[in-house]
């Protein structure tokens, strides 16, 4: 490893004790303050609102316990909550199994085709979830689904084979859509895992299955838990899939209760906040459970001072089935939805792919989207915002994770918890809290792009925390200790040891945040102003006006652009940090 060889000869001249402490505490203190402020604004707002009645016209808001009483005693909520839990559990399990399997094949084995797989795997994440769901309606609805039509004709069946309008269908679509979340996190974990334990097991005659379950998965346990947690929370909050696939057959979820409360006039943000407070409790429990893991010290660290060469694992004859599996997954999750999207972008109206449709194709929609009002401005703003937010979040949360994992500060679990909570705030409540905060606290950012930046950093900070935590847990503190022994300052060892070793997690988290912040709508729509439009506003606009064809064209262009960004990020990432053997 090149890092070990680099000496710290330059820092022989030790800075004074106070100088070192000051620089270190300045950075740590600033990070804690920023994260604390960002996370507490929506939290305080949410808790405050949950005790208030809605205000309208002459009727002011007053203190009440009514929202909680309503939320806890409403008998119609229970079945919704049950549906949500079933849906979220199913989705998380499916996404986790798929994501982990492919991350393992991609990172730890010599399966063919893996190079392009990493970038391709983010495609489902880029497709707006409305379009992803509609494309599955086109493929698997009992009425017009392409799969059903093909199977019906091929085998002369009387009824449809797949029914997308069911709990199973909802889990399938959402699970596939979210599998990149698990894939990115698990890839990072597999990448910074020392393979020597697996190799020893192989030498001792263990089978691939035994190695996978007894060693590999046990070592990445924190990453598995973190993935499950993110997936669970995200699918509890998800709105599109339940609305598009569950609603027609009467399956309703918890989020629709939150949505209904906000939609009323006067908008009952208080009741929505009380519902969200229930989610906060669940999430806090999950975060607490995870911080237990991180307090178990170096149990999961395999990146130590000893030689570390992440090397692929030879699958032998299993290479072929693995390759088939990868190709099958790529067709199902990436190629097919992309083709449906591409097909509809060439049409004049949304329709199922068919021979007859071929004659109608044209590229008109692309020209229309490019000339759409505000599109150029929006792309520029979104690019700046998402790259800026992702970079800021990953660096900021790296410091926070370091505090939580490496120090013995008394309330460090609280820091982890507070920084992770924005994950469960309904986007609209978060947007509203940021809006109101900076309307009254007039420091000149209201109405500028900065307020959206603040909202993005707040909203996606929890993901940075999770991605960084899982990677940080794998790095043994040996390395930093040796650096300190050789006279490196805290900032030196942070920048030259911790960050490079953290790279897999940093990069995966960065990619994830870039993609999801481009799609963020619920707080963007409240916070943007003329001149600070973002891409998600354009998407929403096209969706609302029913311009699905233009929306598909826009989706296709977005996928291509982000695909290139991810490829570039990977290339740049390869040039820094730990060289692979």
């Amino acid at each position: 490893m090149s890092l070990q060889e680099s000496s710290y000869a330059k820092s022989v001249e030790k800075p004074s004790f106070f100088g070192r402490i000051r620089a270190e505490w300045l950075i740590i203190g600033a990070a804690v303050l920023i994260v604390g402020w960002l996370a507490l604004v929506p939290l305080v707002f949410l808790l405050w609102q949950s005790f208030m009645t809605p205000a309208a016209g002459d009727v002011p808001a007053v203190f009440t316990f009514g929202n909680y009483i309503h939320a806890l005693t409403d008998s119609t909520i229970l079945p919704l909550f049950r549906n949500s839990v079933v849906f979220a559990t199913g989705t998380s399990c499916l996404a986790l199994v798929i994501g982990t399997l492919f991350a393992w094949l991609n990172e730890r084995t010599n399966t063919p085709f893996k190079m392009m797989f990493y970038a391709a795997s983010i495609v489902p994440l880029v497709i707006p979830s409305i379009l992803f769901t509609v494309s599955w309606i086109m493929m698997a609805s009992p009425q017009i689904g392409l799969f059903n039509l093909i199977l019906k004709n091929a085998f002369g069946l009387s009824g449809p084979v797949f029914d997308i309008y069911s709990m199973g269908g909802m889990i399938w679509v959402e699970g596939l859509h979210y599998s990149p979340i698990a894939f990115l996190l698990m890839s990072a974990a597999f990448r910074s895992m020392d393979p020597s334990l697996e190799e020893s097991a192989l030498m001792s005659g263990a089978s691939i299955g035994q190695i996978m379950f007894r060693i590999t998965l046990k070592l990445v346990w924190p990453a598995l838990i973190a993935s499950f947690f993110i997936l669970f929370i995200r699918s509890i909050e998800s709105f599109e899939v339940p609305a598009l696939l569950g609603m027609p057959v009467g399956i309703e979820v918890f989020t629709s209760a939150i949505y209904e409360a906000i939609r009323e006039y006067p908008s009952n943000v208080g009741l929505a906040s009380a519902y969200a407070a229930a989610l906060l409790l669940i999430a806090s429990f999950g975060i607490y459970f995870q911080s237990k893991l991180s307090s178990q010290g170096s149990k999961y660290s395999t990146v130590t001072g000893k030689g570390f060469r992440p090397r692929p694992f030879d699958l032998g004859p299993w290479r072929i089935p693995a390759a088939i599996l990868i190709v099958f997954y790529m067709i199902l999750v990436i190629v097919l939805p992309f083709l449906v999207l591409f097909w509809s972008s060439l049409n004049k109206y949304y329709s199922v792919p068919s021979w007859a449709g071929l004659s109608r194709l044209s590229f008109d929609a692309y020209a229309k989207v490019i000339n759409y009002p505000m599109v150029g401005q929006a792309v520029w703003n979104s690019a700046l915002l998402s790259l800026g937010a992702a970079t800021t979040i990953m660096l900021l949360t790296a410091v926070i994770c370091w505090i939580v994992i490496r120090t013995k500060l008394p309330a460090r679990w609280l820091l982890d918890n507070v920084a992770s909570l924005p994950m469960v705030f309904p986007g609209l409540v978060l947007g509203l809290s940021v809006m109101i905060c900076y309307l009254y606290l007039d420091i000149g950012i209201y109405g500028t792009t900065w307020i959206i930046f603040i909202a993005y950093v707040t909203r996606f900070m929890p993901y940075g925390i999770r991605y960084n935590t899982t990677s940080m847990l794998q790095i043994h503190k040996d390395l930093e200790e040796s650096a300190a022994m050789s006279g490196a300052s805290w900032s030196q060892s942070f920048v030259r040891i911790v960050l490079p070793l953290l790279k897999p997690g940093l990069l995966a988290g960065w990619i994830y945040i870039v993609v999801v912040s481009i799609r963020e709508l619920s707080s963007s729509v409240l916070l943007y102003s003329p001149g600070s439009e973002v891409v998600s506003i354009v998407i929403w606009e096209l969706w609302q006006n029913g311009q699905y064809v233009e929306l598909s064209a826009f989706g296709v262009m977005m996928i291509i652009a982000l695909f290139i960004v991810v490829m570039l990020a990977q290339l740049v990432g390869k040039r820094f940090g730990v060289k692979e053997a």
């Binding site: 609603m247 027609p248 908008s267 109206y349 329709s351 109101i436 009254y440 606290l441 006006n545």
Partner: protein, 348 residues
């Protein structure tokens, strides 16, 4: 925290009042401007608007349509319009939150009837005496004149022409009870106001309407879809052979593009109003009032060109065969919960 907020608010308010007082030395107050009805009203407005230089519009109208309108306005008067776009609820939320916090960016607010009525209740809009008002479709101007409807969003049934043969097209509500429609009828999932309005239009009154839809849901099932445009697109693609609630202009437009979708008259055409009002706190009151007038007069022709149904019946008379029932915005605010309950009991 609270005190700081309060003092900040007072501070902002004092600043605003100060600015208003300083301004009134040269310009008229919005009350005076909005009440003036002399023959030279338009000229005076245009001249004063020019010195104001521009205006900000918060709107829920699709961006291409609103751009057509603002471009024509700028071309005529040389006044630049800054547009903020959001859903009808976002427009309401943003305008109320900002104005209560003392930030007076919005001059004109354009959104749906219920949201405009909510703005009226929040005491945000300025009543305006305009000579155009008498020409407007009667259901589109509220008593208080704080906002005026500029177009009707007509909701109609539509069917897929590939899947529904000409002879099978239903002529009236009862035809839908035929078992051949099983699993083929779709409805927007939040069409609470539509159902209430349609129910009331049944000859035997509301009860008959509720009974009919309950029966339909029981015999053939009604598939609920979120969003009118989704439902319209699903009808064109064949997923929903017959939809009860689609936007008339959207169906016409898709039909023109060659999609196999056609409008169907079943019962009354329920119309949601879309209109605009001027904020009391407008920084550009003359330009704002001028823009409202423009939308209700010359702008109406632009709306027709873009497939909308304008409200100025003197300029664009409503089609004769159209039995339009306008949704009452105020009733929508007060009865939403009740309507929703009826909806859920009846069609789910």
């Amino acid at each position: 925290m609270r005190n700081t907020l309060k003092s900040l608010k007072t501070f902002a308010l004092a600043g605003a009042v100060g600015a208003l007082l300083a301004g009134s030395a040269v310009a008229q107050s919005i009350d005076e401007i909005s009440k003036y009805s002399g023959a030279d009203r338009l000229e005076k407005l245009a001249a004063a608007a020019k010195t104001e230089g521009g205006l900000t519009l918060y709107t829920a109208t699709p961006v291409e349509d609103v751009t057509a309108m603002t471009d024509a306005f700028t071309k005529k008067y040389g006044i630049k319009v800054t547009v903020w776009r959001g859903s009808s609820e976002d427009v309401l939320r943003r305008a109320v939150t900002e104005i209560k916090a003392g930030r007076y960016d919005a001059d004109v607010i354009e959104t749906n009837g219920p949201e405009l009525e909510a703005l009226h209740r929040e005491k945000i809009l300025q009543p305006i005496a305009s000579p155009v008002t008498p020409d407007i479709f009667p259901g589109a101007v509220p008593e208080h004149k704080e906002w005026v409807g500029s177009r009707l969003n007509i909701i109609t049934a539509a069917y897929n022409t590939n899947l529904v043969a000409e002879k099978d097209v239903p002529k009236g509500w009862n035809d839908l009870l035929d078992p051949k429609w099983k699993g083929k009828v779709g409805l927007e999932a939040e069409a609470y106001d539509w159902l209430a309005t349609v129910n009331a239009s049944f000859p035997g009154g509301e009860k008959e309407g509720i009974d009919f839809f309950a029966k339909l849901a029981k015999i053939n099932g009604i598939s609920l879809r979120k969003g009118h445009t989704l439902l319209t697109n699903l009808t064109a693609s064949g997923e929903v052979p017959l939809a009860l609630t689609t936007y008339l202009y959207k169906v016409d437009q898709m039909n023109k593009d060659g999609a196999p979708i056609k409008v169907l008259q079943l019962g009354p055409s329920v119309a949601r109003i879309n209109g605009l009002g001027v904020a009391k706190t407008a920084k550009h009151p003359n330009a704002a009032i001028l823009f409202q007038d423009f939308t209700l007069t010359e702008g109406q022709k632009i709306l027709v060109e873009r497939g909308f149904t304008p409200t100025n019946v003197k300029i664009a008379p409503l089609p004769k065969d159209l039995n339009v029932k306008v949704v009452d915005g105020a009733a929508m605010l007060d009865k939403l919960a009740q309507w929703r309950e009826t909806f859920e009991k009846t069609v789910k």
